[in-house]
Symmetry: C2
Subunit: 147 residues, 2 copies
């Protein structure tokens, strides 16, 4: 068993010393991202102080960027890693999910984004796959404020 | 509007310099806890480096304790804060949720705990309220390894 993330090494749209940021193709929550640790570690317990502080700085940068870019009102952060344990020899790789949440509808790239569950837990079943062009537009808008 | 957490100041079963730990009455996932920041802050962006490092140490202690006490296999961590935004003047208070996850059933305090969704996202609807006596027993078992 090899770790999926380590073997593929996809290109992030933003990165820090220890973390790589990817925009989800599912933009049911506008600006939904994943943040992956640069090296293989299997739980929060394995993280170093330096990696942890770098994560906080990354989170702060992202919250500020999504607020400025799209008016995000709050952020749902989670570190779950359930799916890796569907394998016989699990190789979980530490990563975070972030779903920005919105109390108003947002118009962007010709689309309307509505967070109809604002004030409540996110709904995983409400998927919204967007085109590559829209992914790029969202990334570029975030990058204006991330750097 | 006053912050619910700040006004009530409930007694935690464990605490560090900056964080207070409470066992959830819902033990659908054995060892489910909440970790509240000691002072009022409304988002991760407001946390200091010192509070953040203290949180990592707390998380590591808890993961180790839940592994030793109950054999937890992995941990679902999240910082969501949705419910506070159901109010007109939201006063969210930074807190974390942790649901330990289990690949085997656990017998404790005369009860059987089964994580039937292991390898998948937690199910919020599957609640299991336990008695005060069971809450105390779970806390005491965790405390054996937390200190």
């Amino acid at each position: 068993m090899v770790c999926d993330f380590c073997s593929k090494k996809k290109k992030p749209f933003f990165e820090t010393k220890h973390w790589r940021v990817f925009l989800s193709g599912d933009q049911s929550y506008l600006g939904r991202i994943f943040i992956f640790l640069n090296r293989h570690a299997e739980s929060i317990s394995e993280l170093t102080k330096e990696e942890w502080i770098d994560l906080l700085e990354m989170m702060k940068k992202f919250e500020s960027a999504a607020l400025k870019a799209f008016g995000a009102r709050l952020f749902n952060w989670s570190c779950l890693m359930n799916n890796a344990f569907q394998e016989k020899n699990p190789k979980p790789h530490v990563h975070w999910h972030c779903r920005p949440r919105y109390d108003e509808q947002v118009e962007f790239a010709g689309l309307t984004f509505i967070d109809s569950e604002f004030g409540h837990h996110y709904i995983r079943e409400r998927k919204r796959e967007v085109s590559k062009e829209v992914v790029t537009a969202i990334q570029n808008e975030l990058l204006r404020y991330l750097k």
